[in-house]
Subunit: 361 residues, 2 copies
């Protein structure tokens, strides 16, 4: 797996295709699993972790060699990666920030299309993730279910007949499943309806998080909606809980966009056009401001208020302007201040009036 | 005097030429005079005002017909002008806001080049003004002195041997002269030195005002430096007081610009480039924000940080985006909200990557 080549693409989660992709960025499912014969990570010794890693690596290698895994996956020893490479995988939503920052033997398996990734020795021994661009939970569910079954053929997971799968954190006990849908909701933010929507979601036990998981701020108006309950409901029921609410949120966002177009088109157009203008002209810009402005531009393109730029370009810029991507793309290690200058330069080149050919996957 | 044609130009005060014109916008001198045989305006009856207006109009007509006045001046009955036309003259610095908004018989005489204007029945019966682009107080002084002498040949001004010229407000008694130099001081504002500079000026009895005179805010980083003392000093001494301090202020501003270039060129360039980007992309913009952003662009052009736009264009935009000018230029009466849209459109047209031919005087 060549990170430099990978950096030129947007990854699966920002591919910008799939159903409802003007609002739904990606659909993601992850399963938490632990080996029955070892303690949870918090109580595992270094040699436990090394053994867990070795067993799971063996299982993945066997599946890969048998061709059952598909997608030509790469096995990456996360403990051997440098900081920028680990940060790079976080930015692509392939490993968690916790996995990047922890210590000891740990790894991740990633397929070429970045649709699945398997973290070894994260909070649980095994975290399987499947991600699709747009709204596609059913396809994601089928794939992750098959992956889980394949691994479990030769591995005994910690399982209790009454509780289900046992996990390091009680919030994952049972199915160990988290269904997440990432949405782009700029109009609900502008019309100040987003807090109300979130309170409603919490009442039906759905959590709302920002772009990079727990505790992260909703930069770029990206919000992940996910289940909080893993106990007492089947995976299909949880998938349905999340699936049922997404069309309602999409509808709210569409209504908010219609409202803005109808009631304050000039203000909206101004906001979007200025965001585009600043991205085209800044000489230094933070990642946070970039996400904020790109969010307006993305909505503007979807509403037909900006021409000369395409959604795949905007999606690509969301990820290419992240710190590690920027360093991979320029081939330089850059401190934050130099990154801000390089980011601005990268944006100007890709958003110029006459845009250059853009690498897209 | 055709306001529609006039609107297409920048006027004298923003012509952008003359000595030190990167920092010194204009040099202006005005004299306050009153007819000896009539009460001051505050105590004058309507018929007094009508008579004063008639006498001074007669004097101006006689001078114009004799060819002594020069500059093909127009005589405008301000009481007969509509609101937009009066506002237009205020924006061009040809009449004061007070003159525009007062009641009763009043007028202004303006030469074609807009280098002199004579207000009749403003705070005083007569206010003579001469204005030059750039730093040119000596030329302005010679011209206004000649004008004053010409008018006085056949008019008796209120004069006291001990005090000098008598004026409606005691602050003008004596010479009745106000010397004003308008400076563009964005770097002193950015480096937060401007307040300190102003406190120093106050100690030597110089006043600092914003763009449109007393009480007006310093929009666009334009500041008028003028004398406060009219009693006990000759006109030449007052001119020298102001003249002596201007090179010091120019030097401060140049040092502040050098400092910004040296210590934070990226931040400065970013600020300037973003200002230009917003002016090129906004769909609605207030007059105040326009001035603020144009100020950065003006400094950017002077520092060579922006190409493809010339100082006369920037100066022209400062005045053309004012409310009355915008309405004259579009030939439409516009409410503030429509003006903001029209202003943004005007700016985009004149600051596009490939700028159209620009009317300049």
């Amino acid at each position: 797996m060549n990170f430099e080549d990978l950096a030129k693409t947007s990854g699966e989660w920002l591919r910008g295709s799939g159903p409802e992709s003007d609002i739904v960025i990606s659909s993601r499912i992850r399963l938490a699993r632990n080996l029955a014969d070892f303690p949870f990570i918090a109580r595992a010794t270094d040699s436990d972790k090394a053994e867990i890693e070795s067993i799971l690596r063996g299982r993945v290698e066997a599946l890969r060699e048998s061709g059952k895994l598909g997608g030509s996956p790469s096995y990456l020893d996360v403990s051997q990666l440098d900081d920028v490479d680990r940060q790079f995988l976080v930015e692509r939503q392939l490993i968690s920030r916790e996995h990047a920052e922890s210590e000891g033997a740990r790894a991740v398996v990633i397929d070429q299309g970045e649709q699945f990734s398997v973290m070894i020795n994260e909070e649980d021994h095994l975290r399987i993730q499947v991600m699709y661009s747009g709204l596609d939970l059913n396809v994601a569910w089928k794939q992750i279910n098959a992956l889980d079954d394949l691994i479990e053929e030769k591995i005994t997971f910690a399982y209790n007949d009454r509780l289900g799968y046992l996990t390091a954190c009680p919030t994952n006990v049972g199915t160990g499943v988290r269904i997440s849908v990432m949405l782009h909701l700029p109009a609900l933010v502008i019309t100040r309806q987003i807090e109300k929507v979130f309170r409603s979601l919490q009442k039906i036990n759905l959590a709302v998080r920002g772009l990079y998981g727990e505790g992260s701020q909703a930069t770029g108006d990206f919000y992940q909606i996910s289940n909080q309950i893993t106990l007492g409901k089947s995976e299909e029921e949880v998938t349905k809980d999340v699936s049922d609410v997404i069309p309602v949120l999409i509808d709210y966002e569409r209504q908010a966009r219609d409202f803005l177009i109808r009631e304050s088109q000039e203000t909206l157009h101004d906001r979007i056009s200025r965001a585009f203008g600043i991205l085209q002209s800044a000489k230094t810009i933070s990642s946070e401001e970039t996400m904020h402005l790109l969010s307006s531009v993305r909505m503007g393109v979807n509403l037909g208020l900006i021409e000369n730029v395409q959604i795949p370009t905007v999606n690509m810029l969301f990820i290419h302007t992240q710190p590690a991507h920027l360093q991979k793309l320029t081939g330089m290690e850059l401190d934050p201040s130099d990154r801000n200058i390089e980011r601005a330069s990268y944006l100007r080149r890709h958003l110029a009036g006459d845009p250059p050919a853009v690498d897209q996957n």
